[in-house]
C-alpha cells in the first residue's frame, strides 16, 4: 500500500480539507502514525479544521527554504497520539515551494510516518502540481453536482497523465432524499460517468459543520453517520474490505409513508 496520498478535487469547496482532516484523524484513531500536509499555501485552512491553529510556529515554506528543520514545523495533535500536521504558509503564494522540494519533503516524511496525506489546493495550476509531485496515490473528492463532477473528470485525467493511475473517488455531501426524489445524481450515476473506483460516500450531515466549528474532526463522533462514513474510508485506505453504508435505510416522512403503503 502506498503511503503518500494526495486529496484533490479540482473544484473548490467540495470538502478536500474536511476529507483530509477526517481521513487523517481516522487513520490515527486506528493506531497509525500520520502526518497531514497542507499544500494550500496562502490559503491555509487544515489547521483550523483540525483545531490546531494556535499551535503553529513554523510552516512548510520555513522547512523548504531552510529556516527551520522539518521536525520543528510539525505539530503533534493532543487528542490523537498518531496525528501530526505540517501547516501551509499563510503569507506566501504557491510559487514559494517547487515540485522538486515537495518530492524531497514527501520522501523525508515517508521515512517517519506510516501515512502522509496531502491537502491539495483547488485548481490545476502550480499548487496542484506541487501537491501531487510527491504523491503515490490519489483521492478525488466530488459532490453530486455537474460542476464538481466535471472538474473531477478533468483532475482524474491530469492525475493519470502525471503517473497517478487509478485514483479513487469520495462522493461528498450526498443527500439521499434528493437522490430518491430524482433531484440529485446517485452514486451509480457519478461512477458511470467518471469510471473510477469508489473509496467512499459521505452523506450531507449537519454534524460536519458543528464539528468543524469546534475544530474537532467528525470522524471521532461515534454517533454521526458522516463520522461512520469517514471511519469506513480510513479502513478502506488501509486495505480492509468494508461494505458501503446503506444510506437508503435513512428515514424521512415520505419514505416512511412509502414503506407503510408497500412501495418500498
Amino acid at each position: 500500500m502506498s503511503k503518500v496520498i494526495v486529496v484533490t478535487s479540482g473544484k473548490g469547496g467540495v470538502g478536500k480539507t474536511t476529507t483530509t482532516a477526517n481521513v487523517g484523524a481516522g487513520l490515527a484513531a486506528l493506531g497509525h502514525k500520520v502526518v497531514l500536509v497542507d499544500a494550500d499555501i496562502g490559503l491555509r485552512n487544515l489547521d483550523v479544521v483540525l483545531g490546531l491553529e494556535n499551535r503553529i510556529v513554523y510552516d512548510i515554506v520555513d522547512v523548504t527554504s531552510g529556516h527551520c528543520r522539518l521536525r520543528q514545523a510539525i505539530i503533534k495533535d493532543k487528542r490523537l497520539p498518531g496525528l501530526h500536521l505540517l501547516p501551509a504558509a499563510q503569507t506566501k503564494d504557491k510559487t514559494a515551494v517547487s515540485p522538486e522540494q515537495m518530492q524531497e519533503l514527501c520522501g523525508e516524511l515517508k521515512k517517519e510516518y506510516e501515512y502522509v496525506i496531502i491537502d491539495c489546493p483547488a485548481g490545476i495550476e502550480r499548487g496542484f502540481k506541487n501537491a501531487i509531485a510527491g504523491a503515490e496515490r490519489a483521492i478525488v473528492v466530488t459532490t453530486p453536482e455537474v460542476s464538481a463532477v466535471r472538474d473531477a473528470d478533468r483532475i482524474i485525467g491530469l492525475l493519470e497523465s502525471s503517473g497517478l493511475s487509478s485514483p479513487e473517488l469520495i462522493i461528498n455531501r450526498l443527500r439521499i432524499n434528493m437522490v430518491k426524489a430524482g433531484d440529485m445524481m446517485s452514486i451509480d450515476d457519478i461512477l458511470e460517468i467518471l469510471a473510477i473506483d469508489l473509496l467512499g460516500v459521505v452523506p450531507d450531515d449537519d454534524e460536519v459543520v458543528i464539528s468543524t466549528n469546534k475544530g474537532e474532526p467528525v470522524v471521532l463522533n461515534e454517533k454521526s453517520l458522516s463520522g461512520k462514513a469517514y471511519r469506513n474510508i480510513s479502513r478502506r485506505i488501509k486495505g480492509e474490505k468494508v461494505p458501503f453504508l446503506n444510506l437508503e435505510s435513512e428515514g424521512g416522512f415520505l419514505n416512511a409513508l412509502r414503506r407503510i403503503i408497500g412501495l418500498k
Binding site: E145, R150, G182, M185, I193, L263
Partner: protein, 94 residues
Amino acid sequence: MLLDFLNRIFGRDSSNSKDVAKERLRLVLVHDRASASPELLHALKADLIKVISKYMEIDEVASEVSLDKSESQVALVANIPVKKVKHISQSKSL
C-alpha cells in the same frame, strides 16, 4: 400511479432534474475529454465545407459539426445537407 400522486401531494415535480444534470454533464465531458474547443470545431467545419464544396453543392448555413459519445467512443458527427452533386470530369478527379 400512486407514487406520482403522493409526490404531487408533497409538491414534488415528476420531471427528474438529475436526468437533466446527467445529460448536460455527459455532453460537456465529451468536449472536455476530446479537448476540442468551439474554435477548433468551427475551423474543422470551415475546412470540411471547403473540401466537400469541390464535389457537391451544400447548404453551408444548415451544416453542423459536433462531437457526440456513443457507448465508449467519441464520434465526430457532421450533418451537411447536400443540394446537388457536381459533375466532375474523370480526368480531374484522378
